[in-house]
Symmetry: C2
């Protein structure tokens, strides 16, 4: 990551300059310049190796066949092309909901964050949530975000991992699970599971993007501890000791911040991570207590959680069955808004689970809206959707996602393993409490009027159907409007005529 490191060096230098600590500044620059030099050396060594005396003559741009066509190990590939595994390692700016610790509330604001860093934190959280689904005795998840040390720790009090050698792969099970790629306890699809883990990358990605990664699992008289360092490249020996306390499993890691262009856990990143812990608190049900930095997250239900985002009246909550719960509110009309979870995984790009629920709502609201708008109205589905704000928390059997970052679910509704049929009563309540039908109709009518005003000046039409009322209806509406003006004109004209006649009479009479 030389460019990220360069940025980091510059930023670090500026920061220390501002602080006035000349010695610290020198030290920071020295450390980072060393890292860059190491990265460059490694790159050169790689090239030198391929360019050795064995290499074939250069076919392209002065490179040998061996230099041109390269093969990577999977860990090398993950570090070289992180995007498809954990998302971008570049800093980006987005408007997101984050937890403001000082204000004690959710805030939607512009934040600078690195998606990949957020994701490796998320993977460990989802692991803990999965354990909660599998282990009915578990009732606590503790998360520590230690900004000073750049250290994160997630502990759960569920059953420990088996502390024994895996007979096929000849290593301890915890080592296989946390230190070997493409290992998972979720590969058997004949088992219908409602967990988040699917691919066998999860915690290994966190390990690969960390300077140090420590696993502990304790239970049945033993505690197992193992450490990896330098992006999972150095594996420590498993330490097994006698233990008599309650069962637990913890994952503690120091993210390789230089890979994310940072030299410390930045405030926006931490606020986003804290929000994710609140997500967990809001979606993990009543059984599990979630702690953040030693304090209990005070959320008892998904409804409590939703209330962090919207305030005031006009929303409806419903839990049709054990696997589905949702809350419907109204957006400001400029676009669909959603907040959704599948098996504790946050799905900011929604997917089939959200579409499934939204389609039912749109069907009902659209029918009402078209009826209310009267003959000739032809409101589009998107016009209804733009007014919806929906929160969904669901459990789906063996879900499929559009990528390893799991931001969008793609499994089709018939494979969900459950249904969420919205009752007529619920939909009626949504319509009544949110006043959404009126909002949709008045918007559509306003848009229609605006469309008609523009006749003759409109832009590119293409081969699309515009979804506005049919031409004859629009003309008819225009005709009615015209008629009103004509009637007004006649009345005015008649008044003026009367006035003129009266005045002239008056004058004539007065003169006589």
């Amino acid at each position: 990551m030389p460019p990220a490191m360069k940025r980091k060096a510059a930023r670090s230098a500026m920061k220390h300059k501002a602080a006035g600590g000349a010695a610290m500044k020198r030290k920071a620059i020295k450390t980072i310049v060393k890292k860059i030099a190491r990265a460059r050396q490694a790159q050169k060594a790689g090239r030198g190796k391929a360019a050795g005396k064995d290499a074939s003559p250069a076919p392209r741009g002065g490179k040998s066949v061996e230099q041109t066509y390269q093969k990577k190990t999977q860990v090398e590939h993950i570090l070289l092309r992180p995007d498809t595994y954990v998302g971008s390692v570049e800093m980006q700016t987005d408007t997101l909901w984050v937890w403001d610790k000082d204000a004690g509330e959710m805030q939607s604001k512009s934040v600078n964050y690195v998606p990949a860093l957020y994701k490796i934190f998320d993977e460990i959280l989802v692991n803990a949530a999965d354990h909660l689904t599998r282990d009915k005795s578990m009732d606590c998840i503790k998360v520590e975000i230690d900004v000073k040390q750049g250290r994160i720790k997630v502990t759960n009090n569920g059953k420990s991992l088996p502390i024994q050698i895996h007979k096929t792969h000849k290593v301890y099970v915890p080592e296989l699970v946390f230190g070997h790629l493409l290992t998972s306890d979720n590969y058997d699809d004949s088992e219908k599971k409602v967990t988040g883990g699917r691919n066998g990358f999860g915690a290994k990605l966190t390990n690969i993007f960390s300077n140090r990664f420590v696993v502990e699992t304790a239970g049945k008289g033993k505690v197992y501890r193992q450490q990896w360092t330098t992006n999972m490249s150095r594996k420590g020996k498993p330490e097994i000791k006698r233990y008599t306390g309650p069962e637990y499993t913890s994952v503690e890691f120091w993210p390789d911040l230089a890979r994310f262009g940072m030299d410390h856990l930045e405030a926006d990143t931490v606020a986003l991570m804290r929000r994710r812990v609140y997500d967990l608190g809001g979606t993990s049900g009543t059984r599990c207590a979630v702690h953040l930095d030693g304090k209990l997250v005070p959320l008892k239900s998904f409804e409590d959680y939703c209330a962090l985002f919207h305030s005031g009246e006009g929303h409806v909550y419903n839990k049709p069955n054990k696997r589905w719960e949702l809350l419907v509110a109204r957006s400001d009309g400029d676009g669909f808004q959603q907040c959704s979870f599948v098996n504790a995984i946050s799905t900011p790009k929604a997917g089939t689970h959200v579409q499934y629920v939204v389609d039912q709502l749109i069907d009902a609201i659209l029918a009402k809206a078209n009826k209310a708008a009267g003959k000739g109205s032809d409101i589009k589905r998107v016009q209804v959707k733009n007014h919806l704000w929906i929160f969904v928390n669901c459990l789906i059997e063996n879900p499929a996602f559009s990528s390893q970052t799991k931001e969008m679910m793609t499994l089709k509704a018939s494979s969900f393993g459950s249904t969420c049929d919205l009752s007529k009563a619920f939909i009626e309540e949504v319509i009544e409490k949110t006043d959404i039908v009126n909002a949709v109709v008045s918007d559509a009518q306003a848009r229609m009027t605006a469309q008609m005003d523009k006749t003759g000046k409109s832009g590119v039409k293409g081969k699309r159907i515009l979804g506005i009322p049919k031409l004859e209806d629009a003309n008819e509406a225009g005709g009615k409007k015209g008629g009103f003006f004509v009637a007004c004109g006649i009345i005015c004209y008649f008044c003026c005529f009367l006035v003129a006649v009266s005045i002239s009479c008056h004058i004539v009479v007065g003169c006589s």
Copy 2:
């Protein structure tokens, strides 16, 4: 894929029943039932192996540790969890633009397709487009979609691959490139490349999801041919012969349709693939002739290509430099529409390249719209964006995407390796020809009126800023409007008064 196969068996049976071919029906069912049986046997064998006498006692749901914690090879993983590599293998229904061969035009319609099947076709097309970027002598790509045989072939007339042994990996270069995962000629990021290949999966994914996959590459006196069968699991020996014709490389494959729940290349899928060939024809510049099923795709430029989607006036095309070209039109106002390409890769979920261009347009249009709307107006960016329809074709250095399916680019603008500054003249032309400022203003005003009408009835407001004019401005606007009505009232009242006075005078005078 037993569920997909079951579906396929049922569909196939129904189809043949409808056709009345009893013998064919029996044959189809027999073939598919055999496949299902084979798949089940393989699954059982796998479980049996893990459940052998070596296995540890069952820790979870009656399974041994070895059954619970599994490790996969990468090819096994790709076939088991295709989603993150090639997208969903489930049939889905979307409204998409496809090429209607009979009508000879692009049509936006509801199509049933399997994203993964579309993607493995796309990978081979992008390979050919990449070769075009690297090899300045190449000028032809031929695509055959043979529905009868369920066979696809893509041929280019660029320079052949090196027909020699790779000294590090001890296999022929074409075998390494098409038959070994995580191999690529695009791993060196110190080279600034504007190609689509990045990850080293590409063609291997097509090979893995095919029953048969054949590569030929010919040049410098030799022709190399190699075949893989059964999802890349069986590798044929390379055949090398003398050859004196022009250089070429071809990839021919028979997709494993059963994995996609199909027994033939379905019409919608083929229409979508044909559209993708037209994409290539429209984005590959003037140098390269693209042929589809033996016929030249009649597109000479990106502007020609865009005209397949919109028709009529009101759009503006611009090519600020060699790496960027774009066309701007107006959408119907209900949502942003876009069609974009990065290094010949179609990006249906847009990304940073589209945002980069759109932001410049929104800045300019928003300023004009707020000015036109008058004091107190506060039109939101999304309200402008909802009126835009944009086509972008660009070349980006070492692009990064949100997933292996590359539907969205994530590289930030500062790393594009080029800029696309829209000139003032171009933006003026867009504003003039599309009449977008008027459209945005009249929509915003209509929405504002609708919002004010709803005062007291509005839904959930939450902690959002609604983006409508500030309350005092809205009141002021209301005040002005009110003033107009008051003035009208006074005039009317005065008229009536005059009439009444005149009439009474008249009567009095008449009586006198």
